[in-house]
């Protein structure tokens, strides 16, 4: 397994696409955030958008954009070698299917998660340096949620791994995945009362859905928003458990499928 991982990492260094995607996403995140402040300026507020407010209002957009990286990364690692069939040679070199599968899966999970977390954090860092965090939302609580989001992210990556080994085409998975990420986030939020933890994306959406409380002023009808970011233990445990269970399940499903698959 280690050998497969080493080979993948070597190949990754030579791959331009993934770096382009990474940089592009970072840039998009920044422009989104700065774009937000422009909007804010137009509505009469004269202060640069506070990083806290940006995160509170756009949490799920930040994450779903960042997930595009995880998607691309996973699709390339797990799928690119299937397109030109170079993956066949790994099996024929005497690696067990288990190694081929999990070697790739592990790199996808680690690389995808790290990359996604970095891209998520980036606009916040920029915002905190340029402006301030602000009072609307507690930094510590957001930090907790940020760290907790590792679980649904890993789970989503496991699902991508499963999908890629199924479809065996990196580009199809990427296209489908991007569409799902950009539009699919809306669907779970339309239904209230569901157990959001069950779908990876909705679990993330719920994590980043800060309960907002707003009051307003008589003069100028200004809205003042505060966010409650505290997450209760009762919410954390199902989230973590379900993420682990389903992540593991999809990973194993992919493995079981791949184990008996004819590679022609």
């Amino acid at each position: 397994m280690k050998q497969i991982m080493k080979a993948q990492l070597y190949q990754l260094r030579k791959n331009r696409l993934i770096w382009i995607v990474f940089i592009l996403l970072l840039l998009i995140q920044c422009t989104q955030m700065l774009g937000e402040s422009d909007f804010v300026n137009q509505t009469g507020l004269d202060v640069l958008i506070l990083a806290g407010d940006y995160v509170a209002g756009n949490g799920i957009t930040i994450v779903s954009f960042a997930l595009i990286f995880a998607l691309t990364f996973t699709a390339l690692i797990c799928g690119a070698d299937f397109i030109d069939k170079t993956s066949n040679y790994e099996l024929m070199s005497g690696h067990e299917r288990k190694d081929v599968y999990f070697g790739r899966a592990i790199i996808s999970i680690i690389g995808g998660t790290v990359g996604t977390m970095l891209i998520c954090a980036f606009p916040v860092l920029v915002g905190s340096v340029a402006g301030q965090w602000g009072d609307s939302i507690s930094f510590g609580n957001v930090m907790v949620r940020y760290l907790l989001s590792v679980f649904p992210i890993v789970r989503i990556i496991c699902e991508f791994v499963f999908l890629t080994f199924l479809v065996k085409n990196a580009y199809i998975v990427m296209t489908v995945g991007v569409i799902v990420l950009l539009y699919g986030v809306m669907i779970p939020t339309m239904f209230t009362g569901g157990n959001a933890a069950f779908l990876g994306l909705s679990a993330l959406a719920k994590l980043y859905d800060f309960s907002a409380w707003s009051t307003y002023t008589l003069v100028g009808q200004k809205t003042i928003v505060v966010y409650d970011a505290v997450i209760k233990a009762g919410e954390i445990i199902p989230l973590v458990l379900v993420s682990i269970v389903f992540g593991g399940l999809f990973l194993m499903l992919g493995y079981w499928f791949f184990n008996k698959d004819d590679l022609n």
Binding site: D135, I187, G194, N195, F198, L218
Partner: protein, 547 residues
């Protein structure tokens, strides 16, 4: 049953059938890709749970989906067929369970109460002003919610909420169910029995029958609108009324002003009693008589009808004008909304023009009928009030100063009063300086209706009239929602110049919005309202104007 669950059950049955057939097809095909189909049930379940929520009764469906996963792992025809059948059977069983199980998808009322309570405690801005004892309230009401939850009684839940919100004595704290019949059903439980009449206490202290049902025993016995009632169910009437109000928390709705609440003090007594009650009354000759009245049904309808009659406003559309006579014009202000775009400038213009036209015509007396005005936007208030205000700048009210960190409105440490923020004001145009304005209010004139009355009462040519004060609940509101209901409460602070609370009553529950002339609720009022169907308030006002 929820649509999501029905959909899932139907889909799972179809898929199980398909997979049953697939078992034999796949055997001939021997392509490994078919095994993927056996993950479809599980994926459907994941989506269903994520979108509609996990439900114990549906466990059969979920387990069936897991069963089918076996078909993915082992490509054996018999195993797949057996698991498909098992899944089908489990799904049908689950369907049965869902239909019978009383606990199927019932909300957790206790959880909802706790959640809403904590939100309320955190954000309700009149807690100190009204001296709300959170702990006592919690202790008193939690058991009621626990009982409602245990019995899965949605109406008991709604009733508990209704009683709870009334404890705040704030017309801006209210509870609504998405399905109307739940709250209606709840109120019916507490309204009591209908014996064919309602009760109101007159200005002179006598309690009389009102809204008497013509087709009833009491009517046959001689009780009419205005008949003095002396005893109810064997208890002297004053005693009975005091006893009811002492022993029961339920009022016809929340009242911020004690006087307003007392106005309707007798009303609910008319619903108390068993299958029949002894009603003692004075006949035409003044002799006390008693009639045994049997219950006709539920009191809620009669109760609401009676209150409607007392509260009625002129039945014309919002912002429509009616010429009462050559010198008097009336405008009805039932809702504080103009159009969808909230084009208040346009509304101002229209009213301004109308006023000038009326002025030209020689109209001297204006009546703004704001009875049961449910409030709305302060922009609306400003748009109209500036037309009638004397020239110069007027203060509307002051904002509080909100601190995001503590999520509280700040107070001055020395005086203990709220810190005063920015000032909202408007410019008066004094378009009616030549004449007088009467504003009609009732207990349901609330929110921006209170704002309007409060601001206008300061003008020299404005008189506020009604049977009672307006409701005196005027802070800005927020709400907490559950899947089936929502709870509104005051949260946006409005202040006077000295940092005292704008309009809302404190624990003394004394009215803050002035009532310049309190129209007496007497025998004439009763006769006019209930016998003649007359708009007594308007008639009274007209009689005053004519003088």
């Amino acid at each position: 049953m929820s649509y999501g669950d029905i959909g899932l059950i139907v889909l799972e049955l179809l898929v199980a059938g398909g997979l049953f057939w697939l078992a034999s097809y796949a055997e001939k095909a021997l392509s490994t890709k078919w095994k993927l189909c056996y993950t479809i049930p599980m994926i459907l379940c994941i989506f269903a749970i994520a979108l509609f929520g996990f439900e114990v009764s549906m466990l059969g469906v979920y387990l069936g989906a897991l069963c089918m996963l076996a078909g993915f792992m082992k490509e054996e025809k018999r195993l797949r067929r057996v698991s498909a059948m098992a899944a089908g059977v489990l799904t049908v069983i689950s369907l049965g369970v869902c239909m019978i199980n009383p606990e199927y998808r019932t909300p957790d009322y206790v959880e909802e109460f706790k959640e809403s309570f904590s939100q309320l405690k955190l954000h309700y801005n009149m807690a100190e002003h009204k001296n709300i004892d959170w702990d006592t309230l919690y202790e008193e009401y939690l058991p009621q919610f626990q009982k409602a939850d245990k019995e899965h009684d949605e109406k008991a839940n709604a009733l508990a909420w209704e009683l709870f919100v009334q404890e705040f004595h704030d017309c801006h704290v209210s509870y609504m169910e998405k399905k109307e019949d739940i709250l209606n059903g709840a109120l019916e439980r507490i309204a009591g029995n209908d014996y064919g009449l309602s009760l109101m206490t007159l200005e002179n202290g006598k309690t009389v029958a009102v809204n008497v049902e013509t087709d009833s025993l009491v009517y046959q016995a001689g009780i009419r609108n205005g008949t003095v009632i002396t005893a109810w169910d064997g208890v002297e009437i004053k005693e009975a009324i005091d006893a009811y109000n002492r022993d029961n928390k339920f009022r016809i709705h929340a009242f911020a002003v004690k006087e307003n609440e007392d106005f309707y003090r007798a009303m609910l007594v008319a619903g108390t009693g068993g299958d029949s009650v002894n009603i003692s009354y004075l006949d035409d000759a003044g002799t006390e008589k008693t009639v045994l009245a049997g219950k006709l049904g539920n009191y809620k309808k009669r109760l609401e009808d009676t209150v409607d009659v007392i509260d009625q406003g002129v039945a014309i559309t919002n912002l429509a004008w009616q010429n009462i006579d050559d010198e008097t014009a009336l405008m009805r202000m039932r809702f504080m909304s103009y159009d969808k775009e909230e084009n208040f400038d346009q509304m101002s213009e229209e009213v301004r023009t109308k006023l000038l036209v009326l002025k030209d015509r020689g109209v001297k007396h204006l009546i703004f009928d704001m009875r049961s005005n449910s409030g709305g936007s302060d922009e609306y208030v400003k748009a109209l009030i500036k037309l009638i205000a004397p020239e110069g700048e007027h203060t509307y009210a002051y904002d509080g100063v909100f601190d995001k960190k503590t999520m509280r409105y700040l107070k001055d440490e020395n005086t203990g009063r709220y810190l005063v923020g920015e000032r909202e004001c408007y410019q008066g145009e004094n378009l009616w300086g030549h004449g007088d304005i009467t504003i009609l209010v009732n207990t349901n004139t609330v929110s921006a209706g209170d704002h309007f009355s409060m601001l206008a009462s300061a003008f020299p040519n404005v008189t506020i009239m009604g049977f009672t004060h307006s409701s005196c609940s005027a802070q800005g509101i927020n709400s907490v929602q559950t899947g089936h209901s929502f709870l509104a409460y005051s949260s946006v602070l409005l202040l006077n110049e000295d940092g005292s609370v704008f309009i809302d009553t404190d624990e003394t529950r004394e009215a803050t919005v002035p009532l310049d002339i309190k129209i007496p609720f007497d025998e004439r009022a009763v006769a006019a309202l209930f016998d003649d169907g007359e708009d007594y308030v308007l008639s009274y006002v007209m009689s005053l104007i004519e003088k």
